[in-house]
Symmetry: C2
Subunit: 423 residues, 2 copies
């Protein structure tokens, strides 16, 4: 596309691309924007080095003019977007990228990859964190997904409300709080469960978390408290009927005087399993597979579409809205869009309003798109905790049915206001 647009002289036409999704995953009430910070890093660092240019030349993928253009590539346009942690609905213009066609079209794959992946994880994380209430969630899914996808997943989980991750690379890269865990292998390495517990407590102190289901849970709990004392930090249960076992273990711990010892459960948890343990004496949940695979929806189905472009090759030409018109359910709405969340008198969200004309005065203060990149410079970096806190606040302002786990429609409708030139 780039090569052909450069030859045709259309590559420089000012263009507006928008990221949106036509639908939420089946039954989901809201989506969660995540990955915005990673998009900013990716845009800032998007370059073509000598090795890549050589590859493109040797494979005859692009011509010399295009190679020259790529060698100088640096995004110089503007990006607006929903802030990280915000929620979104079908049609929400989650991100808007403006610049020349050439500089914007090149970013399509990396922007969609990041937002589709991270938002899918954050949406699952958000459902899990609302199901868990005040109990902390530990991200433990690194081994279930691509090794670097895992680091991004831990980050997205944190945005969606997780407290910690077991992925040290995510702690290193993004500063997310990390927690450790011991595996059955550690117990099996030692000559007895008691030896294993003693080794762990000697090295890490009584505040550590001992894994108690390698052999017999009741015996392991007894041994754990004998070895660590009643100040044992926590025990972890990773198999069996967690509801039943948690009750038994709590009773046993209390009888042994370890009333402050917490119970961490893991074992293929998802938001439904977490919710079903609400009445169980569980203090924290470790979640792996279902988190990093988006709990049934591993991608967010966002698309990146050209919605407006310059009317001609004249640099001063006005923008005209454009949209695919073919049948098949893939039509979209042309024109550069604004978005606002209309609220009721109590401050609860009532509708996602998306428009192409002027913003109605009543909605001016509730606009959702923030400036992220201006003339190629990132202008809206923020700590990850800000995104995490934003998500908590925004979710709390959705109608109460938002956090029902059962399948349903998007919790607020998307309304379109058309008007103006679309530019």
């Amino acid at each position: 596309m780039l090569r052909a647009a450069l030859s045709a002289g259309t590559a420089g036409r000012r263009s507006v691309f928008e990221v949106f999704t036509r639908r939420l995953p089946h039954g989901r009430r809201y989506g969660v924007v995540a990955g915005t910070g990673r998009v900013l890093d990716a845009v800032e660092n998007f370059r073509f080095d000598a090795d890549v240019l050589r590859f493109l030349r040797e494979r005859d993928i692009v011509d010399e003019d295009t190679l020259d253009w790529l060698a100088d590539y640096r995004f110089s346009g503007d990006i607006w977007g929903y802030p990280e942690g915000e929620v979104y609905f079908p049609g929400s213009p989650i991100m808007r990228v403006e610049g020349s066609f050439a500089e914007c079209v090149l970013l399509e794959t990396v922007i969609l990859s990041i937002l589709n992946h991270d938002s899918a994880i954050a949406a699952a994380a958000s459902r899990m964190s609302s199901a868990a209430g005040d109990r902390p969630l530990i991200e433990m899914g690194a081994r279930r997904t691509h090794e670097l996808g895992a680091v991004a997943a831990a980050r997205a989980a944190y945005v969606g409300g997780f407290a910690t991750t077991s992925d040290l690379a995510a702690g290193f890269r993004y500063g997310i709080p990390t927690v450790g865990t011991s595996a059955h292998a550690f117990t099996l390495l030692h000559d007895s469960e008691r030896d294993a517990f003693r080794a762990q407590v000697d090295a890490l102190g009584a505040g550590t978390t001992l894994l108690v289901d390698t052999y017999d849970v009741a015996e392991a709990v007894r041994t754990a408290v004998e070895v660590a004392g009643p100040e044992l930090g926590a025990v972890r249960i990773d198999s069996g009927d967690l509801l039943l076992v948690a009750h038994r273990v709590r009773q046993q711990l209390d009888e042994l005087g370890a009333t402050g010892t917490r119970i961490v459960v893991t074992s293929d948890l998802d938001e439904y399993a977490i919710a079903s343990l609400a009445a169980a004496p569980v203090d924290a949940y470790g979640v792996g597979t279902q988190l990093v695979t988006g709990s049934g929806h591993p991608t967010a189905s966002m698309v990146y579409k050209l919605v407006a472009r310059a009317e001609s090759d004249d640099p001063r030409a006005p923008l005209v809205p454009v949209a695919k018109k073919s049948s098949g359910g893939k039509t979209s709405i042309g024109g550069r869009k604004w978005a606002a969340r209309r609220r009721d008198a109590d401050g609860y969200a009532e509708a996602e309003v998306v428009g192409t004309g002027p913003v109605p005065g009543a909605l001016a203060g509730d606009q959702l798109l923030a400036e992220l990149v201006k003339g190629g410079e990132v202008v809206a970096r923020e700590p990850l905790d800000v995104a995490r806190d934003r998500h908590t606040a925004v979710r709390a302002a959705l109608p109460l049915s938002a956090t029902q786990l059962s399948r349903g429609e998007p919790v607020i409708p998307t309304e379109y206001l058309h008007g103006g030139s679309g530019s």
Copy 2:
């Protein structure tokens, strides 16, 4: 775990870890090993640099002894595994890692991440490639998954039988053949569909693939052949009832004399949609979302378990088999294993035989584990085409029902032969 095992003096015990899966994803007939080559790269490059060591120190995650140990880390053990492209079944010992407990346990996450991700994609790719028969499949899912997960997915898809990828980074990194595609944005950028087609044909020649469903398909096909001539390479259809539209487009192309112009279809294809188009005049399929998300099963649920370890801290101590014994369906079988595929008189696979004792003579020639790393050195690198060809050959030697798309049991049973010391 590492810190505690180092303090306890057990970190050096010779250990055997195995990667296996307790079950295939629901209804799947076989699994596909992919990512082996990436595991070898990861093991070879697994190091802790100064920045990482500083992070571990500052967060007080490990103590000074452990930091010293990590600074010198280099895997010095042995790895055996199913060759890339092989198929596997519940209980198949897909990879076996042997060395000190410490050096092996550190590799758990990276090995599982790679194998779980890549094998999930390859399994979906294999189902799609068997459904597609001789028609080539194009990997087009980069925008639907993590930006680097996408590159690994393109690689795994190739192992599973895909012909090409649209992910240039995968072409650059792994030498996979790449193909381009134009998006609706390219058509919308231009003042007319004719202008867009002309720009593309001028730059890329008549052999290019024109996207014909931005406005009206029949008109686009007419324009495409007018612009490119009857030697037009291909047209791509990305929406609508593909079966119906493909028939109409074929007829129209033939009437226009473009009898050699191929039809490429895309649009949320999966193996079922591909199979349903078997009788349609389609020449190639582009697959995105369903491929990179494993067609409903985005992870392969492989685990990495300690199955044997030295009986004591004595370096000459013999290995003893170990296994988790608790209830809850997560038990595993201790002891270092071999595996072989028993064949019938016609050469078709009959059973996956896994054992801990001596290998029966009749199976000696059909063993599945190959030496991959010896004393820390990679000894089994191979071109990706070898893995791809292996997969085609191995799949063809499964019972015919292997490639049925309907849900069923693993196409061959796994049989266990116990015996010997397990070491």
